[in-house]
């Protein structure tokens, strides 16, 4: 593997860029492994990387049915932040943000983490109070948060609608300056490269179709490329968590839904941070190429179809127009959808499953991109030690039975409305 540096870039340029080696090995399955991770998204690849790096477990395979990063990793709107409020979430997401800050250096791969800041807008006195409360909780946990006024925002993000006719007047908002965006594909590639370099097999084009059992215990997987044995099997399949759990005889507190995202034609820089509307579910940022990247609500009915319907496009664009009037002049050039593992309280599940040999990592809803590094970090710990890391000890499956849901929004078990 070539170490990437200014020097290697220079050297390769002189050689006509013909000397680069593959970033990771495209492996074929071995008969058995210590650990198999199902799913080559960011979470699965990060888990493999930290299994090798933090725990010295390198006889590991990541098994991906398509190509790595082709799932939600490559479909999300790349917002990274840690403005969570509930004990159990707060420190987990903050750890994740800290890992983002050092990721490019750690992986020797530019993941283009851009701490451009994120604002959650408030449109009523009650929302300003809620923002202040959230900010205070964050600061008490050592996380940066700043309450901004309408006047501050007018200076900082001038293109929002501050007029008298604005449908939802902007009163202020909660700002996190370390929040921002990162390059989604690079995250998958960077972790794949780091894991592969430490001996992990990354196997693409191989679908897990079932499990191998021995006296009630899972001892491997059945795949489209044959049986593969493993001492431990961890799933990191995002929108297929319910589906893969069912194959192990488990039902989960998860429903699968589609989420869409939208991109406009490229324009000159107009928004240099991430803006979340407080009136309806909608957010917007601008990519380095210049397109406005937007997202909002789920389509709203159970679905495993990786494509969205038109009403949400209309709803999203109405919200965009209400917040940033200039978008009405732009063309939408692409929209797409990903399949979301919506948990019943909006928080993830990461633990040993009730079936010996199987580990669960799912329920990330539409917020799992920012969690990628901490998810890999904690899942690797959980698998290696058969016990949770301190940061994921509240992400249990039995919290629902015990009445300890982590319901950040207080929505209750209606995941299509989260």
């Amino acid at each position: 593997m070539t170490h990437y540096s200014a020097f290697s870039l220079f050297k390769q340029a002189l050689g006509g860029n013909k000397g680069w080696s593959r970033a990771w090995r495209d492996a074929t399955p071995k008969p058995s492994y210590d650990v198999i991770i199902i799913g080559g998204g960011g979470h699965g690849l990060a888990t493999a990387y930290y299994l090798a790096k933090n725990h010295g477990i390198t006889n590991v395979a990541v098994i991906e049915k398509g190509y790595i990063g082709g799932g939600n990793t490559g479909r999300n709107t790349t917002i990274v932040r840690s403005n969570y409020m509930i004990d159990g979430n707060t420190n987990f997401y903050e750890h994740s943000l800290k890992l983002w800050e050092g990721m490019s250096r750690d992986l020797n791969f530019n993941v283009m983490y851009s701490p451009r800041g994120q604002i959650n807008l408030a449109h009523s006195p009650a929302q300003m109070d809620a923002a202040a409360r959230r900010g205070n909780i964050m600061r008490m946990n050592g996380i940066d948060a700043e309450l901004l006024s309408r006047e501050d925002l007018k200076k900082r993000i001038p293109i929002l609608d501050y007029s008298d006719t604005a449908r939802f007047p902007i009163m202020g908002g909660l700002w996190q300056s370390r929040a921002g965006t990162a390059r989604h594909d690079a995250v998958a590639w960077g972790y794949a490269r780091g894991a592969s370099d430490r001996g992990v097999d990354i196997i693409q084009g191989c679908e897990v179709t079932g499990y191998l059992w021995d006296r009630g215990r899972i001892v491997g997987v059945e795949t489209t490329r044959g049986e593969i044995k493993a001492k431990k099997v961890g799933m990191a399949v995002a929108g297929h968590t319910s589906h893969m759990a069912r194959k192990a005889g488990l039902t989960l507190p998860i429903e699968t839904h589609i989420l869409q995202a939208f991109v406009t034609e490229a324009i000159k820089p107009v928004i240099d941070c991430v803006v979340s509307f407080g009136a309806v579910h909608f957010y917007i940022s601008q990519s380095d190429k210049g397109g406005l990247v937007m997202g909002g609500d789920l389509d709203g009915h159970n679905s495993y179809g990786q494509r969205g319907d038109l009403p949400i496009v209309e709803e999203g664009m109405a919200a965009a127009k209400a917040l940033v009037p200039l978008v009405s002049r732009l063309q939408l050039v692409r929209h797409w959808a990903g399949v979301m593992d919506m948990s019943m309280d909006g928080s993830p599940i990461m633990c040993k499953s009730p079936v010996e040999g199987l580990y669960i990592n799912g329920g990330w809803c539409y917020g799992g991109f920012k969690a990628t590094p901490a998810s890999g970090w904690c899942y690797a710990h959980t698998i290696a030690n058969d016990a949770p890391h301190k940061l994921n000890e509240k992400f249990t499956l039995d919290r629902f039975r015990r009445g300890y849901q982590l319901d950040e929004k207080g929505m209750g078990p209606t995941p299509w409305a989260h």
């Binding site: 297929h240 319910s242 589906h243 069912r246 039902t251 989960l252 507190p253 998860i254 429903e255 699968t256 709203g300 009915h301 159970n302 679905s303 495993y304 179809g305 319907d309 038109l310 009403p311 019943m344 629902f400 039975r401 078990p413 209606t414 299509w416």
Partner: protein, 98 residues
């Protein structure tokens, strides 16, 4: 566009309807104090990849509750039945009088 054929009003765009989720679960009797049965009912879902039974209300039409069988991969609607005929009961039917 996902279209649902309301048995009372005819085929309409799905945005006329309110989605109310999984219709395969069975609510325990209100007098049931078993925590596992309630946990199952409130939080756990089969969430099938394929045919899914679900409730929709024709909110902007006849306001009737419907039980729809729909494929969660192709989004094809397989059947629509009035929820009353499909056996949806009002809660009070299930209260056991001591």
């Amino acid at each position: 566009m996902l279209r649902i054929a309301c048995p009372y009003c005819g085929e309409r765009d799905y945005i006329e309807f309110l989605y109310a989720g999984d219709a395969a679960r069975e609510m325990p009797a209100l007098s049931d104090t078993d925590i596992d049965r309630w946990t199952d009912f409130v939080f756990f879902r089969d969430d099938p990849k394929g045919e899914h039974a679900e409730y929709w209300q024709h909110q902007h039409g006849c306001r009737q509750w419907l039980k729809v069988i729909r494929d969660t991969v192709t989004h094809r609607v397989i059947s629509v039945t009035p929820a009353i005929e499909a056996g949806l009961q009002a809660d009070e039917d299930k209260v056991e009088v001591a």
